[in-house]
Every structure is written in structure tokens, then in C-alpha cells.
């Protein structure tokens, strides 16, 4: 069992902003945070553009174990991982995510190195970080990881 870093008082957070600059800043901060905490190789669960922050960070020296992308808006030209820095990439999303639609991003990763999983849930961008969805055995999320 790995340590739950999210449950610590000095956990990593970024602004959650809606621009490339905010994400780029988040990526720089993430690289620094991981170096400071000596957590290279950690597993990261990200939601929405948090996944793009992590992918940017992987191009700036961040080494990851598993990178789980929950409802990640796809803009592969702008945000793609350094595959050599990540052991395993998993995407979990819903059908026709309305927030991603409003953001005019893609819903699906087309690179076969990112394992795509689509839950039988429609429209809800928040469903993939809902603990009830994770606990519901009909979705089988743990097996996707």
C-alpha cells in the first residue's frame, strides 16, 4: 500500500485555472513538489485538466508510476505525456462529457499507449471522481487500473 499524499496537510494543489498558462504553472509546481517530497515514481490520480498538468509535468522531468486520467479533456497537440516517464496510462471517462464539450476538447485518447475506459454514464464530468461511482461494482473501476 502506498502513502496517501492527498490526505496530507501540504498536499499538492494547483489553481485549477482554465488556461494553458495556469496549467503550465501547475506543471512546474508539481515537478517542484515531487522533487521536494522525494516522491519520483508516484502514482497520480488526476481529474479533468489536472491530467493535462501531469502530462505537461512528465515533459519537465516528472517520473510517474501509474497516471490515471479521470475525465481528461483531450488536446493531444498541446498536452501529451512523455511516455518514457510514465509506467502506465489509464483514461476513465463518461459518454459525451458536457464540460469537455463546452471546452471544445476531444473526449477520447487515440494513442494506444493510453488505455481507454468508458463508463456507462452520460454527460457528467464529475462522475469519475465520485466515490459512489468508484464503489459501485457494476462499473468495475478497480479492474481498469
Amino acid at each position: 500500500m502506498r502513502r496517501d499524499l492527498y490526505n496530507q496537510s501540504d498536499r499538492f494543489a494547483w489553481s485549477g485555472g482554465y488556461s494553458y498558462d495556469a496549467r503550465s504553472l501547475g506543471a512546474n509546481d508539481l515537478v517542484k513538489w515531487v522533487d521536494l517530497h522525494r516522491e519520483q515514481g508516484l502514482d497520480l490520480f488526476t481529474h479533468s485538466h489536472g491530467g493535462n498538468v501531469a502530462m505537461l509535468a512528465s515533459n519537465r522531468g516528472l517520473r510517474l508510476g501509474k497516471l490515471v486520467l479521470l475525465s481528461c479533456p483531450v488536446q493531444f497537440r498541446k498536452y501529451q505525456p512523455n511516455f518514457g516517464q510514465v509506467t502506465k496510462l489509464v483514461s476513465i471517462r463518461v459518454r459525451l462529457d458536457l464540460v469537455i464539450l463546452a471546452d471544445r476538447c476531444g473526449q477520447k485518447f487515440k494513442d494506444s499507449r493510453i488505455r481507454e475506459n468508458v463508463l456507462p454514464i452520460w454527460f457528467d464530468h464529475t462522475a469519475t471522481h465520485n466515490p459512489e461511482v468508484w464503489k459501485n461494482s457494476t462499473y468495475g473501476i478497480p479492474a481498469m487500473l
Binding site: S15, G17, Y18, S19, L25, S48
Partner: protein, 113 residues
């Protein structure tokens, strides 16, 4: 049902972008206070995409002290340096979430340079 509200919001965004009618823009800004995270995100994304067109409405919200953390974040993402001093005035706000949002907003604005 939030899904119907979301489709309504998307229609409202299209109508506001096409007409510039302020009351439509205020509906979108008001959605930043929604309890539903989907609706808040759609509103925020739409306002950032509208850029300068959204600024007067966001400044209104700022002056009224409404939805402060997210409004500060959106203003920084739009990237207009004219409002930098206004954002700075929130960096010592008594609410730590507002103060942190203002500090992050200033960092994002600095990235735009």
C-alpha cells in the same frame, strides 16, 4: 435535473456571445455560484473563452464580492493586466481561499507576460 440546466446554459452562452446582451452574461456569471460542479465548470470555461467580453461582468461580481475565488481565477486566465492591481488587493483577503486564489491569479497573470 442538472443536464437540462446544462443544455440551457450552453444555449444561453451561444445567445450571449451572439448578441452581447448583459442579462444573459449575468446568468452565466450567476451560474458560478451553482451547487453543481458541471454547471460551474461550463460557466467558467465559457467566460474565459469569451475573454474581454466577460470582463465587465466579472468585475461587477468582484465588486459585489460574489464567487470570489473562481472570479479571480477566470480574470487571470483571460489575462488582462489592467485588472492586476484589483486582483492584488484581494491577496490579503480575510478568507484564505480568496487570498490564495488571488495569489495564484497573480502568478498566472505573470505567466502571460
Amino acid at each position: 435535473m442538472w443536464v437540462f440546466e446544462a443544455f440551457g446554459l450552453l444555449v444561453c452562452v451561444l445567445a450571449w456571445r451572439a448578441t452581447g446582451l448583459k442579462f444573459l452574461g449575468r446568468v452565466i456569471v450567476g451560474t458560478l455560484g451553482s451547487r453543481n460542479e458541471n454547471l460551474r465548470s461550463i460557466a467558467a470555461i465559457s467566460l474565459v473563452r469569451a475573454g474581454r467580453m466577460a470582463e465587465p461582468l466579472l468585475e461587477e461580481a468582484l465588486h459585489r464580492g460574489e464567487y470570489l475565488p473562481i472570479v479571480l481565477t477566470i480574470l487571470a486566465d483571460i489575462g488582462d493586466h489592467r485588472i492586476e492591481s484589483e486582483i492584488r488587493s484581494f491577496s490579503a483577503h480575510t478568507d484564505p481561499k480568496v487570498a490564495e486564489a488571488a495569489r495564484q491569479a497573480l502568478r498566472v497573470l505573470a505567466m502571460h507576460r
